[in-house]
């Protein structure tokens, strides 16, 4: 095929086409999972209370109020760490999962309200590529049958026509026509991803959700598959929602990028803008954490502390606030910048119990070399200091000690962290882009 010699320029051509038409528009999309649905699921037994049995369902807020749109022919990169809800979002957009709330407008039609047969028919216009090259192909079907299956489902072409199309698709994705009769296990990981691509393209869809399509592959193979995907996008006029955890891959393939954290999109901007002018502290942290393959460019690493909170009980306001290095000081205490910095360091240390009990003066000196803040804030700090001072903890059982630490940490968190605007309001701001003229959304109160 002639197309093999060309340089993949998918991202260029699609940039030019953009703004022409919105293909997909997602608004206020939510997907919550309840744990279990059975007779006895959600049953909680607690001998300490009366009655000792309660029934409650935990709601995992996997995707919580997400909005974005994708223009025809463009690639939207969706990036985030494991558990942030990006795969769930991808599947919900395709209605493989039932959305809890929100609309998914695809080509003018709301997928969320479609049902049964209408939805099934609509699937001819959408495709999906999966992460695991081993699990995504039925081991008992030949590659030909796999590629033809969507065509059969939508009554496309006759048997002969399907075979011809399947063979030509195999060639398009970089395999060979005679692979038609082979079984998946005869292929390497990279080749299987190509079969995946061929299947997704067989009914000539407009839109393909790619869920970490290259993260299971070795670097060299990853590059092959990425190049093929870019070429096919140009050839078939595809629109991609490209999900990945690897920012490098996203930077290579996407036109615009959405960054997810704990079920929400925290930043969304054009690629160049997002990578060169990140406005959300989480995006900044992500970018700074990636090891750069250049020994002369030693990055700032490990800028983020702590861990992602549970999506069952996410933090109020800004989801990222519990780990945010630039949490806004609560009003009313009159914190100075340095004071707030020192106080936050102390709060974090108490919460994580990272220092051993010492006399109050010693701890004070360590966390507040400039002295504790004035006024009410200072009093609160002093109370906490005395709670966890060596004198107080001396001779206590481990349980009682833990209770003290807990008390101190509760006091501090409630008085300071929970009072910040970051804890009280959910941020959503538009900032002026420096690169390009696309929309730049950053969910951070520093832009208020």
């Amino acid at each position: 095929m002639s197309s093999f010699g060309e340089t993949p320029t998918g991202s260029d051509s699609s940039t030019a086409e953009r703004d022409s038409e919105t293909l997909l528009e997602v608004e206020g999309l939510k997907k919550h999972f309840t744990t279990g649905s059975g007779l006895l699921s959600g049953l909680r037994v607690d001998p300490g209370s009366f009655p000792p049995v309660r029934r409650e369902h935990e709601r995992v807020r996997a995707v919580d109020d997400v909005s974005f749109s994708i223009a025809r022919g463009e690639t939207l990169g969706l990036v985030g760490e494991s558990g942030c809800g990006k795969s769930t979002l991808g599947r919900t957009v395709l209605r493989l999962l039932e959305p809890t709330a929100g609309t998914i407008r695809f080509d003018g039609e709301d997928l969320a309200s479609l049902g049964g047969e209408a939805l099934r028919r609509k699937r001819a216009e959408m495709g999906m590529i999966f992460q695991d090259p081993h699990a995504s192909l039925n081991p008992r079907m030949t590659v030909g049958t796999i590629v033809e299956e969507p065509m059969v489902a939508h009554g496309m072409l006759d048997g002969e026509g399907r075979e011809a199309r399947a063979k030509s698709l195999l060639e398009d994705v970089g395999l060979e026509a005679h692979h038609y009769h082979r079984y998946p296990h005869e292929f390497s990981g990279g080749q299987r991803q190509r079969v995946n691509l061929a299947r997704a393209l067989s009914v000539d869809p407009d839109f393909v959700v790619c869920d970490e399509p290259v993260s299971a592959l070795d670097v060299s193979v990853q590059a092959q598959v990425l190049n093929t995907m870019a070429r096919l996008q140009a050839e078939f006029g595809l629109t991609y929602l490209f999900i990945a955890h690897d920012l490098s891959v996203i930077r290579h393939i996407a036109d615009r990028v959405a960054v997810m954290y704990l079920g929400t999109v925290v930043e969304l901007a054009e690629k160049e803008e997002l990578f060169e002018n990140p406005q959300h502290p989480y995006t900044q942290a992500l970018l700074e954490s990636i090891p750069v393959p250049d020994p002369r460019e030693s990055g700032t690493r490990g800028v983020l502390e702590g861990e992602v909170p549970s999506p069952v009980d996410p933090p109020s306001g800004c989801r990222f606030r519990t780990r945010c290095p630039v949490l806004i000081a609560p009003e009313g205490y009159g914190f100075g910048d340095a004071e707030w910095e020192a106080t936050r360091g102390f709060v974090r240390a108490v919460k994580r119990r990272t220092f051993e009990p010492a006399p109050a003066a010693e701890v004070r000196e360590r966390f507040f070399p400039e002295g504790v803040p004035d006024g009410e804030a200072g009093e609160l700090v002093e109370t906490a200091l005395s709670l966890v001072s060596a004198a107080e903890l001396e001779g206590l059982e481990e349980d009682a000690r833990t209770a003290r630490w807990h008390e101190a940490s509760e006091l501090l968190l409630e008085s300071f962290a929970e009072e910040s605007i970051c804890a009280r309001e959910r941020p959503h701001y538009e900032v002026d882009p420096v690169y390009g003229d696309g929309e730049h959304l950053a969910a951070c109160h520093r832009h208020r």
Partner: protein, 332 residues
């Protein structure tokens, strides 16, 4: 606290199962064509009026669901009804027979565990070597042989031919030695063991074979675990790895199997009690079936079902004790 909560949770889960067991038994017992009394009489010609009287006396003339509720109400108060044939409360009959069965089943399990675990570990450790092959053959024969036939063969060999061990009955350790004319507790204990040995082996062989296979597979898996590799890399002696690191994690499936196999063991007890003439629940069940003693059959079935459910709960709790990952509501 975690275990307490888990226990409560499991007990709660058992309630619908136990209700189901009584329901199935009740429905089965009423599947019989014709009315129960005629069925119990098994074709004997009796005066119609007598049948009516008996029916009224036992409430058998009432609709099925009503009878079920009445029966369940009784069961909940420990009243399993009255055996018409023996003219005694079902509960008394069962209480008199439950001891030997428990003794038999528990000792069979003790035998099975005591042999299966060391053999399974040995087989895993010396994988594909003679020890492994021998243990696999033992296991294969063990799962392929009917327990009652093993019983018969054991009797033929050890009781009939060699005359070493008694061929029938049990000596109950909870009865005083004088009952048997034993001189003292020493002889009493010895006789208890001598009587128990053959039925215990006959009933325990299948369990042993199943457990041995599982133990072997689990130990092999566990020994290939990353954490075993790590322990090796930190210079932990091979013996400690086998006994501690690999062993503990490998016991989890064993516990589950022990619980689930209780069903086979309780069924097997019926056969073994029959072969060895042991007066346990199994024999009582067979007698009840023979006499078509409707109330007694239901009572025994429910009690055995309950024994199984309780056994499973106990194993589940020990599972939770060993595996810290188990919390209530998170199985499967």
């Amino acid at each position: 606290m975690r275990l307490l909560r888990y226990t409560l949770y499991r007990l709660l889960q058992a309630i619908p199962v136990l209700i189901g067991v009584t329901l199935i038994t009740f429905v089965l017992a009423n599947l019989a064509p014709g009315d129960p009394v005629r069925f119990m009489l098994h074709g004997q010609e009796v005066d119609e009026e007598l049948i009516r009287t008996v029916e009224r006396r036992y409430g058998l003339d009432r609709p099925l669901h009503e009878r079920y509720l009445v029966y369940m109400g009784g069961v909940l108060q420990g009243d399993f009804g009255h055996s018409i044939h023996r003219n005694r409360p079902v509960l008394d009959l069962m209480l008199a027979r439950i001891g030997p069965t428990l003794l038999l089943v528990v000792s069979a399990y003790a035998f099975a565990l005591a042999t299966a675990i060391p053999l399974g570990i040995l087989a895993a450790k010396r994988r594909n070597q003679p020890e492994d092959h021998v243990s696999r053959i033992v296991a294969l024969v063990g799962v392929s042989t009917p327990s009652f036939w093993i019983g018969i063969m054991l009797i033929l060999l050890f009781a009939v031919t060699l005359g070493w061990l008694p061929s029938s009955g049990l000596v109950y350790p909870w009865w005083p030695p004088e009952t048997y004319g034993h001189s003292g507790y020493g002889e009493h204990a010895l006789e208890t063991v001598r009587h128990l040995l053959l039925p215990m082996i006959a009933l325990g062989t299948l369990q042993m074979a199943t457990l041995m296979r599982v133990e072997r597979t689990q130990m092999i898996n566990s020994l290939q675990g990353e954490y075993v590799k790590l322990a090796r890399a930190y210079g932990v002696p091979e013996r400690t790895i086998l006994r501690k690191h690999a062993f503990r994690a490998a016991q989890l499936p064993i516990i589950t199997i022990v619980g689930l196999n209780l069903s086979t063991a309780l069924g097997g007890a019926v056969l073994i009690e029959y072969v060895f003439n042991i007066n346990g629940m199994g024999r009582l069940f067979l007698e009840a079936i023979q006499q078509l003693d409707y109330q007694l059959i239901m009572g025994i079935t429910i009690v055995i079902g309950t024994m199984f459910v309780v056994g499973v709960i106990i194993t589940d709790i020990s599972y939770a004790y060993i595996d810290p990952r188990v919390t209530y509501g998170e199985e499967e």
